[in-house]
């Protein structure tokens, strides 16, 4: 399957720069859903090690129309022309990109793909837009669980530097978590200064966000890596949110030997294989209908 890449200017002010990748030749049709890949932090739309270019091309070869774009102020996109806070701005821009795909390419359903902050944006947005039917979340923000603490401690206990750090007041994550918990127990009105998982409301709010998508039947591919300090095993999401019934909607994978930014070609190939496989499992019959 031959593919083509087109530069697109998206959003109300046409200031978001994106690349639309799609198949050409053969039947001039598109699947009835499109894929949108979100920025990882401040890295522009090509992604770390150009992983999103390779992924978009592979997706287009399987007839998935795909857009990867830069949020305002990132990559080649202009600074936002509005005063929205960054998170609201990102939500609004995802919406604009989906609108563009819907109106110009007749694509009505979407899968969002994001790594790290991109995954957080994806899961937050999906809760608000029924057009999103699937999420590929790679190393999103993840609450700690008992098993996480056990795995994490086990790893750290074997590391001499951790002991030095703990003893001399360094920035050991466990030490900081313990301090927070002690303060929380001692002082009734205590609130952490930054949004950490010890914050009483944060965990339940994130749980509600996942639940909103689950209730709509959104499917999840959760890919966690050994290089992401917030995760240590594949089932962490399910254990972190026991009240959310992911049953049948979630495939979760833990890539132990991959780092957070998929530095090795092997781990990038592994990730891509997982994504294509998951799309095939869930959307292979996601009918091909008229597109432009």
């Amino acid at each position: 399957m031959r593919i083509t890449e087109q530069v697109v200017l998206l959003g109300h002010s046409k200031s978001l720069v994106g690349i639309f990748t799609r198949p050409v030749g053969g039947k001039e049709t598109l699947r009835d859903f499109g894929i949108v890949i979100l920025n990882t932090g401040i890295i522009h739309r090509v992604g770390h090690h150009r992983m999103y270019v390779t992924l978009s091309r592979a997706l287009a070869e399987l007839e998935y129309p795909t857009v990867r774009f830069d949020f305002s102020g990132i990559g080649d996109s202009d600074k936002p022309s509005h005063d929205l806070p960054p998170l609201e701005s990102a939500m609004s821009e995802i919406n604009e990109v989906l609108d563009w795909l819907q109106t110009t390419k007749k694509v009505g359903q979407f899968v969002l793909i994001g790594l790290c902050m991109g995954a957080d944006h994806a899961v937050l947005y999906a809760a608000t837009d029924p057009r999103v039917v699937g999420l590929v979340l790679i190393d999103p923000t993840m609450p700690p669980t008992l098993r996480y603490f056990r795995d994490y401690l086990q790893r750290r206990l074997l590391n001499a530097r951790s002991w030095i750090n703990f003893a001399f007041g360094g920035t050991s994550r466990v030490r900081l978590m313990l301090i927070e918990r002690v303060r929380g127990a001692l002082f009734k009105d205590w609130q952490p200064t930054s949004p950490t998982w010890s914050h009483p409301k944060l965990r339940s709010q994130i749980g509600q966000i996942y639940e909103a998508s689950v209730k709509r039947g959104v499917k999840f591919l959760m890919v966690l890596t050994g290089g992401w300090h917030q995760t240590t095993y594949a089932e962490q999401l399910v254990e972190a949110f026991p009240n959310v019934n992911f049953s049948g909607l979630l495939r979760s994978e833990f890539l132990r030997h991959s780092d957070h930014i998929f530095r090795s070609e092997i781990s990038r190939a592994q990730l891509q294989k997982l994504i294509l496989e998951w799309l095939g499992e869930n959307y292979a019959n996601g009918g091909i209908e008229n597109g432009s």
Binding site: E5, V7, L9, V17, I19, I42, I43, H44, R45, V46, H48, H49, R50, V53, T54, G75, D76, D78, I261, F262, R263, S264, E265
Partner: protein, 265 residues
């Protein structure tokens, strides 16, 4: 700002054209920005965009682009080579000339982009002026720093991953494939050789004191055919990611480049 693809269909290159803002009724020529390679390209993207915007506001028609097999351009890194990338710079010069009608084209290159720009400038008289920003003085030294070529055994660089022969061989350099052929081309990079043939006004600007400064100074002295300035202006490195400066850009270096190029008229 206009992002677009240019070049033949088998080698489509992604470029971003920043038109010159009208400064006192006339533009001040054009500039093509030559990116670094690999992770350095990813980290430098933000700074080079800022540079392009500053140049266009100073009345300079500016084009930055991705080499074949990099960024948004067509192809895969494993199909790329340095000779092809020099051809891409020439294609970008043609494109900017066609777009704007301007004949005088400056080349600005960062890291590997500086080496490629110097090589093109040595052969193409249309290029004037030339700015080499933190160039790789010796490809061999560069590969030694990356742990690929034999050199200082005390080097702390992690050993690169060796790639299988059936995918082009070579190494993975900070996650980017460097095929055997490309590694060989890197090894033969010698900035001082190209400098000797350059007749364009040249600014070599370094954002940090490097161990190879003396060798660069010797190379600059050989540039008898050109007016050349070598400046050390300590600033953040645009091409390195450090947690403490992750969103910062090297303002001093960018300002100096813009000032220097506008004074070259």
């Amino acid at each position: 700002m206009t992002p677009f693809f240019f070049g033949p269909s088998e080698r489509r290159l992604f470029g971003v054209y920043d038109p010159a803002h009208d400064v006192e009724g006339a533009t001040r020529g054009g500039a093509v920005i030559c990116h670094p390679w690999g992770s350095e390209y990813i980290y430098a993207h933000r700074s080079l965009r800022q540079l392009a915007m500053r140049l266009s506001r100073s009345g300079i028609e500016t084009l930055r682009f991705d080499y074949f097999g990099t960024g948004d351009s067509a192809g895969e890194m494993t199909d790329a080579d340095l000779a092809g990338w020099k051809g891409d710079i020439e294609a970008a010069i043609e494109e900017l000339t066609d777009l704007t009608g301007t004949k005088a084209i400056a080349l600005i290159g960062l890291r590997l982009g500086a080496n490629l720009a110097a090589s093109v400038a040595a052969k193409r008289r249309q290029v004037n002026p030339l700015i080499l920003w933190d160039p790789i003085v010796s490809g061999k030294t560069y590969l030694q720093e990356c742990g690929i070529a034999k050199g200082d055994e005390r080097s702390l660089a992690p050993l690169p991953v060796v790639r299988a022969d059936n995918v082009g061989g070579g190494y993975e350099l900070d996650g980017f494939p460097l095929t055997r052929g490309m590694a060989h081309e890197f090894e033969n990079l010698d900035l001082t050789e190209d400098l000797a043939d350059i007749s364009a006004n040249t600014l070599v600007i370094l954002s940090a004191r490097m161990p190879w400064l003396a060798s660069l100074q010797r190379g600059v002295k050989q540039m008898s055919r050109a007016h050349v300035e070598l400046e050390l202006l300590e600033d953040r490195s645009a091409w390195v990611e450090r947690p403490e400066t992750i969103e910062a850009i090297p303002v001093k270096v960018i300002s100096r480049i813009v000032d220097w190029i506008t004074q070259c008229e």
